[in-house]
């Protein structure tokens, strides 16, 4: 029998339906793989083996009685930003301590209702603030990919580094992730996996630890475009418990992957060509354009002229919202409490010891830009610039059906390479952050390898609520690219 862990989600569900193997066998295979790989990769911070085995057994019984759900028996990894009933949820911050939710997030509840099984909780940057997974209180994740034969440890990207690394290393069939400025798509691009951030409001934020509420969206990281469509189908949907959740009906995302792209108009924005971008990424982008032309698309140059202001605007809006969201961590309800001379002193000491350096920096920036005298100059101006960016997209989408860009300005970099310079770290998200500000669906998929053998990704951005076009174009690119490379399993 082939290694069960190397199957795609679609193949694994098919194999279980044909009784070639059971969910119990599949789950055991993944738990075995995690045991070998995790000491090297640090992708999982909690492995819920017993729960997973029990769920798999129940799932096999459900399938045998003809009641299989769409994801019946599929073992998944869950980013530790999603509250999971009875399983510790930390957002990889010390300040949450051993917080164990008594409720399940809507997204994970949707997945489990469809038959999915949780293998464990995945590592991330603290409160999802980071682009390299180095801000996690549980230590960084290591990218399963290496530069040729070198043993330099590379970042899997962030914040969903555990999600991306576990999918790339065959430690789950797919994983949940979240994306506030690129936290699904940048790690997907760094690890040769597929990640989609849907339209803002498609997935309920209920039960997801909040970072920046007007930007946060959940989405899957998966092995193929089709797998990501199947996972999103289950994760998304209207939820009355999230007032920004969209009431719109869900289209059939998997079917959209089969749709022809002939006659579609694809926009290529001039402004996504940045200084210092490796030639290989330019080449990949040009190659992507050729692939879509060959598939019958028309290419149109477009201008998204406020692109360069997206990151600075984001670094006002996101920290402002974060400073407000994180005000709830006061040591009274979560984690370790550090005493002080009075109540305010206890708050101050608790927060100073519970939050890591990057989170503290962002709380201070957020507090500063919202403080009296600076609100108009910074926060209000950033919200207006955000409107300009959204308007650029609205104008462009009058003429095009989808937009093609590179996913990241570089391949995965070494751990420690950028951790001393916040601004150079922030620049990682230069191509992804615009879709968050405008609330648009965007997918990153692997399309080529650089000279060191590292994966490089393309990004497809769609109109609001038009994930179908994103899936159709991405599936066409996936087919043309034929990206089959996998990270060598050097940890075995």
């Amino acid at each position: 029998m082939t290694d069960l862990t190397s199957l795609t989600l679609a193949q694994a569900l098919d194999g279980m339906e044909k009784k070639q193997f059971s969910s119990a066998e599949l789950t055991d295979a993944f738990l075995g793989a995690i045991e070998k790989a995790n000491p090297h990769l640090n992708a999982y911070i909690v492995v819920t083996g017993d729960k997973a085995r029990a769920a798999a057994k129940a799932s096999d019984a459900k399938r045998a009685s003809g009641k299989a759900g769409p994801l019946e028996g599929a073992p998944l990894g869950i980013k530790d930003l999603f509250c999971t009933e009875g399983v510790r949820t930390t957002a990889c911050s010390k300040i949450l301590g051993d917080f164990t939710p008594t409720y399940e997030s809507t997204v994970t509840a949707n997945l489990f209702a469809d038959g999915a099984i949780m293998l464990g909780k995945l590592n991330l940057d603290e409160f999802a603030m980071g682009s390299s997974n180095e801000t996690s209180a549980f230590g960084n994740v290591v990218n399963p990919w290496r530069r040729g034969n070198e043993d330099t440890k590379l970042t899997p990207g962030g914040s969903s580094g555990g999600s991306a690394a576990s999918v790339a290393a065959d430690l789950c069939l797919g994983a949940t992730a979240t994306d506030t400025g690129g936290s699904i798509r940048q790690p997907a691009a760094f690890t040769g996996t597929v990640g989609i951030k849907p339209t803002y409001g498609r997935c309920s934020r209920w039960g997801i630890v909040a970072f920046a509420s007007s930007l946060d969206q959940a989405g899957p990281i998966a092995k193929t475009v089709e797998d990501s469509a199947m996972l999103l189908q289950s994760m998304a949907g209207h939820d009355p418990k999230d007032s920004t959740s969209l009431p719109n009906a869900l289209p059939d995302f998997r079917a959209a992957c089969q749709r022809s792209v002939k006659g579609m108009v694809i926009g290529v924005p001039e402004e996504y060509r940045v200084d210092g971008m490796p030639e290989e990424i330019e080449k990949l982008w040009a190659q992507g354009i050729e692939w879509l032309k060959d598939a019958g698309c028309t290419i149109k140059k477009i201008s998204l002229k406020h692109t360069k202001y997206a990151l600075p605007a984001y670094y006002i809006v996101a920290p402002a919202e974060a400073s407000s969201n994180l005000a709830r961590y006061d040591g009274m309800r979560y984690g370790a409490r550090v005493a002080g001379k009075d109540l305010a002193g206890a708050y101050e000491n608790t927060r100073a010891s519970g939050f890591g350096a990057e989170v503290q920096r962002r709380i201070l920036i957020g507090t500063y830009v919202l403080s009296a005298g600076y609100y108009d100059a910074y926060y209000l101006r950033a919200q207006k610039v955000r409107q300009r960016i959204a308007q650029d997209f609205r104008d462009a989408f009058a003429d095009v059906d989808a937009i093609l860009t590179p996913a990241t300005p570089s391949a995965a970099f070494a751990l420690g390479e950028k951790s001393g310079d916040p601004v150079s770290m922030y620049l990682n998200d230069i191509f992804t952050v615009t879709a968050n500000l405008a609330g648009l669906p965007a997918l990153a998929l692997p399309a080529a390898q650089d000279t060191n053998g590292l994966p490089l990704g393309l990004q497809v951005i769609g109109k609001a609520l038009d994930e179908e076009s994103v899936f159709a174009v991405s599936a066409a690119l996936e087919k043309a690219a034929g990206f089959k490379a996998k990270a060598a399993k050097w940890w075995v």
Binding site: I316, E348, A352
Partner: protein, 77 residues
């Protein structure tokens, strides 16, 4: 606008974060580096532009029926 040490102390107080004295000067430096990069937003013409407060367009905050519920019980929402 540059952030001096006094401002760092004031903002840390507002954010309820105790900042050890030896961290104040380095933090001012870190914040200034980030804010200097953010200053480029001043190049954008935002005259007459409505601030964007939500990524969801054309949807007003949903209202629930004005009936008695179990309040905080999530399953009863």
């Amino acid at each position: 606008m540059s952030i001096d040490e006094k401002t760092v102390r004031r903002v840390a107080k507002l954010a309820r974060l105790s900042l050890p004295e030896e961290r104040v000067a380095p933090m001012a430096g870190e914040l200034n580096a980030i804010m200097a990069w953010i200053e480029q937003l001043n190049e954008v013409d935002v005259e007459g532009v409505e601030p964007m407060t939500s990524a969801v367009e054309g949807l007003s905050l949903p209202m629930r029926e004005d009936v008695v519920t179990d309040g905080e019980t999530p399953s009863a929402c």
